[in-house]
Amino acid sequence: MIRYVVSRLVVSVAMVLLATLVIFLIANTVPGDPVLTALGDMAASDPAQVAEFRARWGLDLPLWQQYWLFLQRLVHGDLGVSISSRRPVLQDIIDYAPATLELATVAFILSILVGLPLGVLAAVRRDTVIDHIARAVSLVGVSAPTFWLAFIALAIFYGQLNWAPGPGRLDAVSFPPDRITGLLLIDTALQGDWETFHDAAAHLVLPSFVLAAATLGLITRTTRAAMLEALSQDYVRVAKAKGLRGRRIVVGHALPNAMLPVVTLGGLAYANLLAGAVMTETVFSWPGLGRYTFRSAVTVDFPAIMAVTAIVAAIFVLVNFLVDMSYALLDPRVVKK
């Protein structure tokens, strides 16, 4: 078991480094020049100012040296300074990450709470109304573009019905709580500020449903497929023959065996939610990491791009690692092999 864990960890670190190298090379091949987005028109045309700018940000060094410097800093936990925000990238990420983490986590919990039971029901009651409803829900969730879904949701539930609050994490006149974790729900709860807690929770409803839609669809479909397969296995037939109750068969026998693909998918889906909320964040004016990443890419902000890549790669690799570890717990055969 320990050998398995260690070997997985080594591969994980290598994967993260490889991902940063690939992004570094891609970012350096586009013709866009970060100097032009960072300097105004007049400064960008002054060779002296451009040269000074390049030297200050290390952009005048050979490529391999730039990458080497990045790695050196990374080892020391220093992600560099963002060209476009002029602040340490780490500070930017600390500012933006909680908004994304909160949104993605609520969205993930939503998609599990709804998707998993819906998938199980759809499998158990195959070809009934509930199966069709589940299919329709997941089809819409997976195929509707997030951008469109976000606007529609905002226009109906905020613009027309006025059930939900508008874009942003809080109302205009709500004072944000003192920062402890940056997660509004937790910070307000810790400080006993229930009015702001309520406000933050209300602002989470629409964006988290929109963000959950695609994940929810995937989880529903995967759970259904895995359950159908599990339900057709011999041990289920044996259980039925033994005369076990239906719910016991479903929950006790079929479900644990159907969980493997769902756990894999769930892990990746959570990582995806953390990394891929750009559209939802844009429409809902959500000050999260997705917007930050997008802006970094648009302005060719190398330090920010590299840092975000490293972090996203680390999230994916970590989630994969945890998924693999949970396999070992769910299915002892994995370790024995």
Partner: protein
């Protein structure tokens, strides 16, 4: 256990056994979840929206993602002049709607001294900073000197200042290295606001010659302000909001709102919904179609302000395209464009068009002058020019543009319109869309044949446009600027009499039309939606968008 299970099966089918209890519980859960959702959403809004606190707060929706700093010496982007102008006053200012005549602000009078290179400014004596301390000449000297030594981007517009000297507590001298370059119009912009020396120093600031390395006040000034303006900065959560509170010591009288909140909303559709709902009072980034939907809203008025920004097509004397090296061929492009159609159809008529690189509204540029000496749609003349150029059947060129939209006008739509206009005289524009940053990189490198792009000025000073066109912008279009045009620009910049300056700038614009490198197509009249519960909010084209000082609840 087995017994109990066996009992269960005898009561009915497999399905029924699972179905009944699950269904009940599910129904219960759905009800429970729905109830929870309702509880979360219920009453979260109305109470907050109607509170007195909300009425005392001016909420502005604006895309502030471009801002990198709120320390005046580093303010040079599009959105950050608005809060900076609300927090700081400069020596002089412009009134909304007038980009020609300077108005007093912290300085009551200013005049060039007999030596020709010193401007002496008399300061108001009744001005206090938001801290309550009086503003003096030393604060002015400190602010300019810090700016000159930090040398961030706004500095390059005043780098011809030799030094700033205190004459007495309410008089300062600005001494110029090069008195032929303009000054007062430039220092009217928010980057040259006056900061309270003591507060800046207490937070790590310095005006020493090594301030570029030693000044550490920027992080503090990004979230606080030390100025004399109507509002004081109290916080900036990047990509989220900028908070300000009123300055009770404001020298023009107590401001109308307790707080000002600038909320970041990058999506115009979100801004539209928010202003319709009343969650924001002012929406800056609405596109023409969205403005149209607000026309009948009884709670919202649409304010227009002719900006000093413009969209133009640059045509390069590209080594790759001999046709473009021919001035007559380039002029033929100028006469083949349906200028009125562009403004009418692409931006709903909400735009004007200057002669050339000086926007309508600054000294010596008017719409009437465009009719007099500017390009106009004249296909016969265009064909005649093509014949004179030896290309009666027209020519081809590549027109590049970024995947972006300015003032609601997509470059793609504009390029297609130009393509069909030019086709009428046989000129074929091949459209090459590209990523905005790549486009800019190629264009600034002089590597394109033609580009659609955008210009927005740091200050309403003619010389900033005219000197750009004969220097860096000339390089981008491979224009070898004739000496007489260079002299014209220098003379016009040095001219301190407005009327004489206007006459020189007319000649300059004629030269620009003759050279035919820049075809200015759209100078937008920005449309801003303001809820009727706000009065006194004046929009301005000078670069800081609006005067928040006069705004108050209706």
């Amino acid at each position: 256990m087995t017994v109990k299970d066996a009992d269960a099966t005898s009561t009915g089918s497999d399905e029924a056994a699972t179905a009944e209890p699950t269904f009940d519980r599910r129904g219960f859960m759905v009800l429970g979840a729905g109830g929870l959702l309702a509880a979360v959403l219920q009453s979260a809004r109305p109470a907050a929206a109607q509170s007195a606190q909300r009425r005392g707060t001016l909420v502005i929706a604006l895309d502030i993602s471009d801002a990198t700093g709120l320390d005046p010496v580093r303010v040079y982007q599009y959105s950050n002049p608005l809060p900076t102008h609300a927090a700081y006053d400069g020596m002089v200012t412009f009134d909304p709607g007038d980009s020609v005549n300077l108005k007093p602000a912290l300085a009551t009078e200013w005049a060039y001294q007999p030596d020709g290179k010193t401007v002496r400014l008399k300061l108001r004596t009744d001005v206090k900073f938001s801290s309550g301390k009086p503003m003096t000449a030393e604060d002015v000297r400190f602010s300019f000197t810090r700016q000159l030594n930090i040398k961030d981007q706004p500095w390059q517009y005043i780098s011809h200042i030799e030094e700033v000297k205190v004459v007495d507590p309410h008089t300062v001298d600005i001494v110029l290295k090069d008195p032929s370059l303009p000054l007062m119009t430039i220092i009217a912009t928010p980057a040259f606001g006056v900061l309270e020396k003591e507060v800046v120093i207490a937070n790590g600031g310095t005006d020493a010659p090594d301030a570029k390395e030693k000044d550490k006040a920027t992080p503090w000034l990004n979230e606080n302000s030390a100025g004399t303006g109507p509002y004081r900065l109290t916080g900036w959560q990047r990509n989220q909001q900028i908070q300000m509170v009123k300055n009770p010591n404001y020298w023009k009288g107590t401001p109308g709102y307790d707080r000002v909140l600038i909320r970041h909303m990058s999506e115009s559709a979100a801004q539209l919904l928010a202003i319709q709902r009343g969650d924001v009072d002012v929406a800056f980034n609405l596109i023409p179609e969205q403005i149209a939907t607000l026309k009948d809203d009884p709670n919202i008025s649409i304010e227009g302000m002719t900006s000093l920004d413009f969209i133009y097509m640059a045509v390069v004397e590209a080594p790759t395209n001999p046709a473009l090296q021919n001035k007559l061929a380039r002029q033929a492009i100028g006469y083949a464009i349906d200028y009125d159609g562009i403004i009418k159809n692409l931006i709903g008529g909400k735009a004007v068009r200057p002669v050339s690189f000086l926007p309508v509204g600054v000294n010596g540029s008017t719409e009437a002058l465009t009719k007099e000496i500017g390009f106009r749609e004249d296909l016969a003349k265009s064909k005649q020019l093509l014949a004179q150029a030896g290309m009666p059947d027209g020519f081809k060129f590549a027109l590049s543009y970024g995947n972006a939209a300015i003032a609601g006008v997509g470059y793609q739509n504009l390029a297609q319109k130009l393509q069909s206009d030019l086709a009428r005289v046989g000129i074929k524009a091949e459209l090459t869309p590209m990523d905005q940053v790549n486009m800019r990189t190629m264009y600034l490198g002089g590597k394109l044949e033609a580009a659609l792009t955008f210009w927005n000025p740091p200050a309403p000073e003619n010389w900033l446009w005219s000197s750009a066109t004969i220097n860096r912008v000339a390089g981008r279009v491979h224009w070898k600027v004739p000496d007489d045009v260079r002299k014209l620009v220098a003379d016009a910049g040095a001219e301190r009499d407005l009327a004489k300056g206007a006459a020189l700038y007319k000649k300059y614009q004629e030269a620009m039309v003759d050279a035919a490198h820049h075809f200015v197509l759209i100078q937008p009249v920005y449309q801003v939606a303001v809820r009727k519960n706000v009065t006194g909010l004046k929009l301005t084209a000078a670069g800081w968008m609006a005067e928040l000082g006069g705004a108050k609840p209706a």
